[in-house]
Symmetry: C2
Subunit: 442 residues, 2 copies
């Protein structure tokens, strides 16, 4: 006998048993329904982009998985270098530029796909994971109304799935950079990036980083820190920022935009959305609104939703300004956490509603006809695969979590019967009209 | 201004405009519903397997895309080598072995995922493509009933999508190898592989290949060719094979199995399923039933469905025999062909049923309330993003293919009105009760 090696999971590449995957699948369908109810259209881009496309934005090269044909020959050297996408925003920018003439703007799309990052795996951080993104792209301009609409859609979609404890943190980069400029900070971008870490490194850490290598003056650092600690569940943040006495045009515009967004987010339960000026988001391409959402129940867990506005993502591809705003649910991350916390629990191991048993070899045709008839009426039905002891057939239904077992007539003229596997009740049933109680309808 | 480079498609990696992707999405949902109605449970495996797993079976290494972290460091050398899966059967074998104790057998799963092959792209052959697979795995044994059920499920699933012109070719490897053994051919596997090319290289080509390098005697080659040309829409093939006068146990068993399968496939319209003894399928792991389905309307196009029975796919992983049978729809291939042939045509560019217009800045709140109300009633609704000329708002609906435009009251007390964009008819409507005609309900 050859050597037996039970395969082991590959770290960072999660997969589920069917009973959990069925729930993940229902989640995706539910999110899809929410996104479509707001008029978003689906697209799917290849898993692969050229390396040039992926490296055109930001500083993420070290996380990228490049592809190589295992038996590459000399010819291949001329092929474009390909790599797996690490988010769905960069592919969207490429898609919009490539298909520009075939799209109608504002272009609203959703996209639910795997992305890959070659990071060291740790809790809640995978190398392959599902993202669910919605974005709106305009030509030349894009009303701020969309910045307010996207978090509402995500909150609604997740609330439908029972995730009502999401807290949305919203800010606007113009506030941060305008404030830094107004203060006279020489290089605002690195300063903002440091401020974004307030959560992780604390006020002392931020202070040290700002006044250290970056050379920000101590009083400037204090005012930046004061800005970074402002938050409000309504538009109260505006007065708080103004009280810090910094004047700048971008700052004013950012405050106005964020106030508009917060005004609209009052449609959510009070406190679910927070204007939080410590939020900046790592990716460089955001230029206005930025979002981040967390589950306060799991303080160290980090964000499960993120996004923001970008004004020039298609630059370099197309001679137009294509501003956009997008938000992304880190679905694998969120879903895996809720499974780990016991908030998502496995149901049955298959979608089958009814198992039709095969009493004996003579009754195979009758049993099959019964199963086919129930299936034609829209039920999910399995015919047991062989005439065998009823006990064995019932055990199969039991172990797979199939809620009903159907007994076709054991002899001509006898009744059909159906057994409710939960209650154990069994009685006559008409295959032409029988319906399971609503709760088990898929 | 920086250089402008409109991105170009990557050859072999197809992507669709939203109006086609929406249809592909409906196809996937419809197939999912069919698979679940027969009791198949969904699984999804990572895009990635270890290279060892992928190379354990068959002779496909040259088509594999391996992964490499772009900024790999010395540490990585110890990582398992990873590569993209090239089908869904090898990952299934690994999955079943890995999760053996958590699965209930016979394990019935469906899986609809992208797979990748580093082949030269050509018509109908992609480097990234969607496969929809259903498989059943048993422990120690698996009734032949499943071999008959799988093609029925696929034919039903595709017929629901309007693909009623699929022709199923079914054979059994035991017939081919048993016949070759019974004939006294020394090495039956290569002989079968040559016979499988009858379609492509013709009788003369097969004859030459068999008697050439393989050294099969001329009369043996003639009888193999005679076998390879046998086909019947029913169980008639049995008598035709027996008339060739070769006796072998495996041959007899193969004939019996194929007869059982063909008997069950009489449930399909006559002629849709064909016992066709020229079919062998390239992959080495098939051991019994083999399937292939084509669209006779496109003779040179090749197969769009394939599969078969394998008796030992999990060998090497687990100390048990896990026989299985599976069938796979080459969805990207089939779908792209039907789009190219004009059998699938684009509908609207978005799922939106109703566009609510914004008459002017004073009526934004009323318009939003109307849109939210319609959406809560289950309709897919967009609110136009800005108060602007009605002509512009109507043009947006027109270009996106949105079937209804809703006019909220332009002043307090006035009526709501709805315009049917197809007929042009416009009249009063109640937002609390209005429904679009059934045809546009998603």
């Amino acid at each position: 006998m050859s050597q037996i090696t039970r395969p082991r999971p590959i770290s960072g590449f999660p997969e589920w048993l069917p009973e959990i995957r069925m729930i993940e699948q229902q989640w995706l369908e539910s999110l899809r329904a929410t996104f479509e109810s707001w008029g978003f259209a689906p697209i799917e881009t290849p898993a692969v982009e050229t390396l040039d496309t992926l490296l055109a934005k930001g500083e993420t090269d070290k996380e990228i998985y490049a592809l190589r044909r295992l038996q590459a020959d000399a010819e291949d050297a001329s092929d474009a270098k390909l790599a797996l996408h690490y988010d769905l925003t960069v592919p969207l920018a490429r898609y919009v530029a490539q298909h520009f003439n075939d799209l109608v703007f504002p272009f609203k799309r959703y996209q639910m796909q795997k992305v890959w990052r070659g990071e060291r795996p740790q809790e809640g951080r995978f190398r392959e994971f599902l993202q669910c993104d919605i974005d709106v792209i305009g030509v030349d301009s894009l009303p701020i109304a969309f910045d307010a609409e996207l978090p509402l859609i995500v909150a609604e979609g997740l609330a439908r799935l029972g995730v009502t404890d999401l807290r949305l943190h919203v800010s606007n980069r113009k506030i941060l950079s305008g404030f830094a400029c107004g203060l006279g900070v020489a290089d605002p971008i690195p300063a903002i990036r440091i401020l974004d870490k307030l959560d992780k490194i604390g006020a002392e850490g931020v202070r040290a980083a700002l006044t250290g290598a970056l050379g920000v003056a101590a009083d400037q650092a204090e005012r930046l820190l004061a800005l970074g600690t402002i938050s409000s569940a309504d538009t109260g943040f505006v007065a708080q920022v103004e009280a810090l006495g910094v004047r700048d045009d971008a700052l004013s515009q950012g405050l106005e935009e964020l106030a508009t967004v917060m005004q609209r987010l009052t449609a959510l339960p009070h406190g679910q959305a927070l204007a939080d000026l410590s939020i900046a988001r790592g990716f460089d391409y955001y230029t206005g609104t930025v979002y981040e959402a967390r589950l306060p129940a799991y303080p160290g867990f980090g964000s499960v939703v993120s996004g923001g506005r970008y004004d020039d993502l298609a630059s370099g591809y197309i001679n137009k300004s294509l501003p956009g705003v997008g938000i992304s649910i880190g679905l694998s991350r969120l879903f895996a956490k809720l499974v780990a916390e016991g908030r998502i629990t496995a149901g049955p191991k298959c979608p089958t509603q009814v198992l039709v048993v095969v009493p004996n070899d003579d009754r195979v045709a009758v049993a099959r006809e019964t199963a086919d008839g129930l299936r034609r009426r829209g039920l999910a039905v399995e015919l047991f695969h062989a005439a065998s002891k009823l006990k064995r057939q019932l055990a199969y239904a039991e172990r797979k979590g199939i809620p009903y077992v159907w007994f076709p007539p054991f002899e001509d003229g006898a009744d059909h019967e159906v057994k409710d596997m939960t209650s154990g009740a069994q009685g006559p049933a008409d295959p032409a009209t029988w319906q399971p109680p609503a709760a088990t309808t898929p």
